[in-house]
Subunit: 128 residues, 2 copies
């Protein structure tokens, strides 16, 4: 993780980082709404994501910055980034080239697969 | 966090938990595709989510199980749950009653707000 970063101080002040200095970043295809993957960002990865038009993560397994697509060609072009109410999660809307998942599937959740949950239904006549 | 849980052993074996025994759970409105919030689940919270039809988290701030909506009325009825390729994130598709966010907004990302990212564009003629 970088010791120094040019991340905007007002944004940095709003982040609630985990013990490793990271926040979770959900990546969603901007036009279809597909949830593609979850990655992790430190302050510098967020700075790069906010300023370069390309989604950049901190790779926990490789311990290095990871600009999505540099190896695979499967880049993510940034459309918007929003922070959540308590500062520990980001929603990145992006245009995903090809497969988001390193396994070759469009999303990482196809790769992992469905867990066969019991379905719940809101009570009839309940609040919207 | 519970010492014992009835979570299916095959599912449990696929989870890659953080130092606190948790995986990230993205909640998405099943029909509109809105990303509503990010919460955290331990094995028992996931078990309850998979078997009861109601989304249940582990609250890191309160250190207790949190069945969404029990206090607020803003329940999440489960439609499906998928695990990602490396086992550290869940995508929960649900039917959200009312506001997902404790601030009263529909999603937690409206509450936190847009970070004014520079927009990126895929090169013309590039791969889909």
């Amino acid at each position: 993780m970088a010791e120094n970063t040019a991340l905007d101080a007002d944004v940095a002040a709003r982040l609630k980082r985990d013990a490793d200095g990271l926040v979770a970043a959900i990546v969603q295809q901007h036009d279809t709404g597909e949830v593609l993957m979850l990655g992790w960002m430190d302050d510098e990865a967020l700075h790069r994501t906010l300023t370069t038009g390309r989604v950049t993560f901190w790779s926990r397994s490789r311990q290095e910055y990871w600009r999505k697509g540099d190896t695979s060609g499967h880049a993510q072009f940034v459309k918007s980034v929003a922070l959540d109410c308590d500062g520990d999660a980001l929603l990145v809307r992006a245009d995903q080239v090809g497969a988001a998942c390193h396994t070759g599937t469009r999303t990482c959740f196809e790769a992992g697969g469905d867990l066969d949950a019991a379905v719940g239904e809101r009570p009839a006549g309940g609040a919207a």
